[in-house]
Symmetry: C2
């Protein structure tokens, strides 16, 4: 049914469209995160030469407190149901029809629960209303699976719509905090050949209180965003068992390790820089320390016997739990490819979450009588020294040189330390044992 | 006064000493962490062919509840003052004289407050009681500074004692949790040429509930261990201002970024692997989320007007705060080398901690009108694919081949997706606009 995902070069560039006038932006989704993002995007588009002022947001029409949701947004400038208490920019326009919301859009922002993605994309495809230079970005956390192989949602969106592989935006972001303009950061990952598109996305999202970094790694950013919720379940189980932060730190470390492995195994490459940015460690951390998946997982252990649906209903007040569904897909992929040995944490987390295993199984992954590991130099990756740092080193070195010293000498022996070659050794010699 | 720090090859190897019999282990320090570590080391040495059963621990003699501390440890097997409530192995022997504790030691474990290191090392040097193959490891968190240049404590220990640069052990470890045998991990960093020594240290420390990884990066591990407390202060200030986890995640990200910069600028290299291990992100996380430096820093903002000494006394019940002292040294190094532009977070944290700046200064570092950054491919580092993962990929690929598919094709288009080349495009064409 889908088209092959073709390289970006097979499509007209977005910058070409920009020459004809400001870019039209449409948001597909209007939940808690979607509305917070709509607020950002519409604020940036308001007085922009790059983006059309009118920002459309597709709203699944429903009634709330006697009014239609589109009416709340368009006339009261508040999404009373999903983001109550925040005033939305007047140029953010709620549109109840998906096709009307997206017609002729140059930029499509997908921000909806992942289970609705396929249907929305198929409807858009059928309507044939997107220009060939259209670009999409996904803000959705999740993965798919087909025949035992993992599928990213950017792949899904791009292939169904026959667009270049979309960019992805992910980071340590809590929707209400972002809406409140508390400071937050995020990462945009882009596929090969889409650096310029990503730079435009950055202009659309970057705000003084929402700072965006751009990286050439769409799969890495996306896998981190999806799989962090699995790590959060493992962390929550440990919390439920009463383990301390030591243990949680170990879970986090191994969790990121398995995210790395998953990405390299099924998608090829992964940048160290992705893990260092907001979409990487920073997001895994906030999810494990205080995200809803971790909280519900802790309750899963403490209130033994309740299933995920039940806990979700009791604890989340209508919000969805992404971890268990993602974990099931991850486990399916691991099983289909017979790579359980590479994913001890994910495998034991699945056993606890779905196979009635004792939560101790998580800890058993770590507790062995063998020493953990020894990493040899040839297996390690040296980080690149940024230009600014290299320049500073050169400047410092030249100043040192005037003092007759080199940096390498400095790091072995700082200035003003007299040469002690003539001093006695502190070594006890066999001939003259020290007295007791 | 100190000798130059010479390469490990200038000293007889430790393995040579091992051929003559089990290695004698001495701990220099017996506080909260020292005693917890003594428990681990003595447990491992108990029935070992590699380590002497008798593990000596230097104890600064003092009275506690009517008994000498050495008496508590040697006869009651408890460090009643610093680690009450935990039974210590009977082969952990408290020795009140530093020289008696370390005489003829093959392995020296330094685990004491960093301000006492220099004096202890000088006393040992003067006594000339260490064999030339002796090796040291430091478990101390801190840095020194001389003439504006940062000095690691392993450098200090090695150069004063004229030993090869010591290894370092650091990780996400809370002493009481480790003593209680809750699960924890740590990292041993070793200098060039000391892989075998590090492997012996691993055998000495690794336990089923305390798992150790070994890495060829002593400076990176040590700088992370020292500077995490500075990041914790910044995180604590944000907590004190009522900022949420979004903001804390940003602090963490930039904090690790500046730790990276500090290491590369003053020590040369840094491994990505160091940041991924327990001594890296995992430790920074536990320190920022719940360490005492973060807690006191939050109080510093909330109870405006109190200084660090006062808060330490009121809140820490005799424990020491490492963050402010480390921050002062870091700020001195940054100032002396005129590299404030590379350390906006550390610099603003210093301003808040010591120069009466408004805590908002921390947030001002992040809030700009410029987009955060765009990282180009050539500036990014691809992670190495571990052998296990590469093997699994090859195995999966060969299975796919039998099905007539390749992995690279798969990641673009999973199996069972029919070729859609013949399908209509979803693009709206100029000739036939879709109806509204």
């Amino acid at each position: 049914m889908e088209a092959f995902l073709r390289p970006a070069s097979a499509y007209p560039p977005l910058l070409q469209a920009l020459q004809k006038g400001p870019l039209k932006v449409s948001l597909v989704g209007s939940g808690n995160w979607g509305t917070a993002v709509g607020k950002i995007v519409a604020s940036n588009a308001k007085n922009s030469h790059i983006f059309n002022t009118d920002v459309r947001m597709w709203v699944f029409e429903e009634e709330f407190e006697g009014r239609k949701l589109t009416d709340w947004i368009n006339n009261h400038h508040e999404n009373k149901k999903y983001l109550p208490g925040f005033e939305l920019p007047s140029n953010l326009r709620a549109v109840p029809s998906l096709t009307d919301a997206c017609r002729d859009a140059d930029l499509l922002v997908f921000v909806m629960p992942h289970q609705f993605i396929e249907r929305a994309c198929r409807e858009l495809r059928k309507a044939k209303l997107l220009p060939p230079h259209c670009r999409a970005i996904s803000l959705i956390k999740g993965i798919g699976v087909r025949n035992g192989w993992p599928l990213t949602l950017t792949h899904e969106i791009g292939s169904i719509l026959d667009l270049p592989k979309p960019c992805i935006l992910s980071g340590a972001n809590v929707a209400n905090d972002v809406a409140a303009e508390n400071f937050a950061e995020a990462t945009i990952g882009h596929p090969d050949g889409e650096t310029e598109t990503a730079a435009l996305w950055q202009l659309l999202f970057d705000r003084p209180n929402f700072k965006i970094n751009v990286l050439p790694d769409v799969d890495g950013v996306e896998v981190c965003g999806a799989l962090k919720n699995v790590v959060a379940l493992a962390g929550g189980f440990c919390e439920g068992m009463g383990q301390g932060t030591n243990t949680k730190a170990a879970i986090l470390r191994l969790g990121v390790e398995e995210i790395k492995t998953f990405t390299m195994l099924f998608f090829g490459d992964l940048l160290a820089d992705t893990l260092y940015d907001s979409a990487g460690y920073a997001d895994v951390i906030t999810t494990v320390f205080g995200g809803r998946n971790a909280r519900v997982a802790a309750a899963f252990v403490r209130q033994k016997g309740k299933d995920w649906d039940q806990l979700e209903k009791e604890m989340l007040n209508g919000q969805k739990l992404q971890g268990p569904a993602t974990l099931e897909l991850v486990a399916e992929v691991i099983r289909a490819n017979e790579v359980e040995h590479l994913f001890p944490l994910f495998t034991s987390t699945y056993a606890v979450a779905f196979q009635n295993a004792d939560p101790q199984a998580i800890l058993d992954v770590f507790r062995t009588n063998r020493p953990r590991s020894i990493q040899r130099s040839e297996d390690c990756v040296k980080l690149k020294v940024p230009t600014l740092v290299r320049d500073a080193r050169i400047r410092i070195a030249s100043r040192m040189k005037k003092l007759g010293r080199s940096i390498s000498e400095l790091t072995r022996n700082p200035p003003d330390t007299p040469d002690s070659a003539s001093e006695e050794s502190n070594h006890k010699t066999e001939a003259t044992p020290a007295k007791l």
